[in-house]
Symmetry: C2
Subunit: 333 residues, 2 copies
DNA sequence: GTTGGCACTCGGTAACATCGAGTGCCAGCC
DNA sequence: GGCTGGCACTCGATGTTACCGAGTGCCAAC
């Protein structure tokens, strides 16, 4: 544990570095308010903080830079609760005042909102469809022996699967299947492997069976929807084009992002800093994450992804307020 | 019009520059096969080509770089028909052999395929929903006075709109509306403003009217779906981080991309080079575009977006083959 | 324990020389 | 007349050197 003065000095270094991106020297720290000691004393303390792994020097005779451990201490112990300035607060307010459209549009736009509020990339993971119950399910014939199974879920999402059917299956048959499925699957979840009882008609039964099973298998990857907004801001946050490429590459592999966020959430973390999360390409990134709730149930997560040199208090405040407003909004329908 | 030799020299410069990203000097050109003249002669010709605006020198005593006009001449007159090498051809083949899933997944994955084949960003614009006819339309009640109008279209797409309804509207009423709409809207298009005839019941009529109209208005932006894959490769294609940011920013504004592609297609262009298209942030980019057809009808477009220093023959070959295969695939259902 | 003083380090910047790829021009050659 | 080798010239890239100054660690004094 750091004593009061060491903590103040570490806080000053982190805040200054976040603001300027320049290594911070003892003189700057000593000049900061709340630090009532001389540069020499600051130097002694900084040497200690470096020895303990909170700071590093890029090279001798340069100022100090926080390590991941330094940021961690800052986030966990040193930073006060963040708050959005009025401009950003207004952005959020305006957004939710104007926001309209379907669930998917809402989530996508929210990822952009997060990005413009924080100036980093915004990530929104939609409510898992597994959890929602089926409100309606129907089988619609398209052309050429192809039918579409369409399920409307209680949270307003729609899932569909194509189904190959024999050419001679008529609309009446599909209507029968639809009626049969509706009767027995309404109120259940998509992944629910509940057997559909027999109708006494072998063809109808077989079709129903296949239609019901179409949603069961997992597509290989999960069905979670991920929306990433403001990727252009990644390019502003890093000055090495290689880093930008790596981060963008990671963001494109959505299962990596989903898995990572889920993992963080499971571990109850709201901030992951640099190499902590162990994803190679995101070693220079930090993630600030928050779940959101729809009608009291945890529904999905929102996150901000930026450089480790991130304005954590602001990002935390942003995900908190946006998450809460998004949850409210989705609860209203 | 350029004479034979000038054309060969311009071609050599463009090809060399595309391959190396280095200004091309007269000695390199003279050393190229098919050029049977000395560097001095090449220099004279290059001076002419520069004077005519096909080439520029970044500075005196450097080699030449093609201008947008130079690339244009290359694409229109100099480059032979491109062909994919066996590796890339195999990529495409494997993709369509393995490809499965819903329309949206297919399009998204295709954008990634385009990107990995060309090493630039891939763009796929889905078939417009306006053109497809309604196969099925239903109104499903969710909680809290909210209902969802779900339309299944002939091309396998599903569109939905939320609808606020009075709390006391029961399921029977919605079923009536569904039946009514199904009877009168099947076979029409979504944007079709056809009036729904009266049922004699005012409440049912009002609901039907609102449900039918829900799809008519345009959301502000168009309903076209755009999928952009391989944005990380943008970071590899440019070495200025500012350029990367600008291009990513443009790609995020999907209506810009859709509008641009539509415009190019309308003008019958398959290649747009640098500043030709007039989008500020994409001044350093070229776009190679091709439409694809589903069941004989033009359905959407695919495109490749990369630096003006792009391998045009390869990109053209890629969009041609991918577009054709995609169209085939979607026609099969 | 804190602080001012001081020698030391070392990256960043500027000034300068050098190198070489590439050019334009010209006289000579076919 | 057109092509070519030769040549002086240009100028970015690279390397060298010197210097500055922000920053450090250490120490003696307060």
């Amino acid at each position: 544990m750091l004593d009061e003065r060491k903590a103040s000095i570490l806080r000053a270094v982190v805040e200054e570095y976040i603001a300027t991106a320049q290594p911070v020297g003892s003189a700057h720290v000593a000049a900061a308010p709340r630090i009532g000691v001389s540069p020499a004393t600051v130097r002694n303390e900084m040497a200690y903080l470096e020895h303990e792994g909170y700071l590093v020097q890029p090279h001798t005779s340069a100022g100090r830079i926080p390590t991941d451990k330094g940021y961690r201490a800052f986030v966990d112990q040193l930073a006060g609760p963040g708050q959005l300035d009025t401009g950003r607060r207004q952005l959020v307010k305006d957004f939710f005042a104007r926001a309209h459209g379907e669930l998917e549009d809402m989530l996508k736009d929210t990822s952009r909102l997060l990005s413009s509020v924080t100036d980093y990339a915004g990530v929104v993971v939609g409510p898992p469809h597994e959890a929602a119950t089926i409100r309606s399910i129907q089988v619609v014939g398209l052309a050429h022996g192809v039918a579409l199974v369409v399920a409307v879920l209680s949270n307003g999402a729609v899932e569909k699967r194509t189904l190959e059917i024999a050419d001679d299956v008529g609309d009446e048959r599909l209507a029968a299947v639809t009626a049969h499925l509706s009767a027995h699957l309404a109120g259940r979840t998509l992944r629910d492997p509940a057997a559909v009882p027999s109708t006494g008609d072998a063809v109808t039964d077989a079709l129903s069976e296949r239609a019901a099973r179409a949603f069961a298998h997992d597509d290989g990857d999960d069905g979670d929807q991920v929306y990433v907004g403001g990727t252009a801001r990644i390019a502003s946050a890093f000055d090495a084009v290689d880093t930008v490429r790596e981060v963008l590459g990671a963001l494109e592999q959505q299962y990596v992002i989903v898995g990572l966020l889920r993992d963080l959430l499971d571990r109850g973390l709201s901030v992951s800093i640099g190499s902590e999360h162990g994803v190679q390409n995101l070693a220079e990134c930090s993630i600030v994450i928050a779940p959101y709730e729809v009608e009291g149930e945890q529904a999905g997560t929102i996150a901000v992804l930026g450089p480790t040199r991130m304005n954590y208090p602001q990002a935390l405040a942003a995900v908190a307020v946006v998450g809460s407003r998004l949850g409210q909004r989705l609860s209203e329908g």
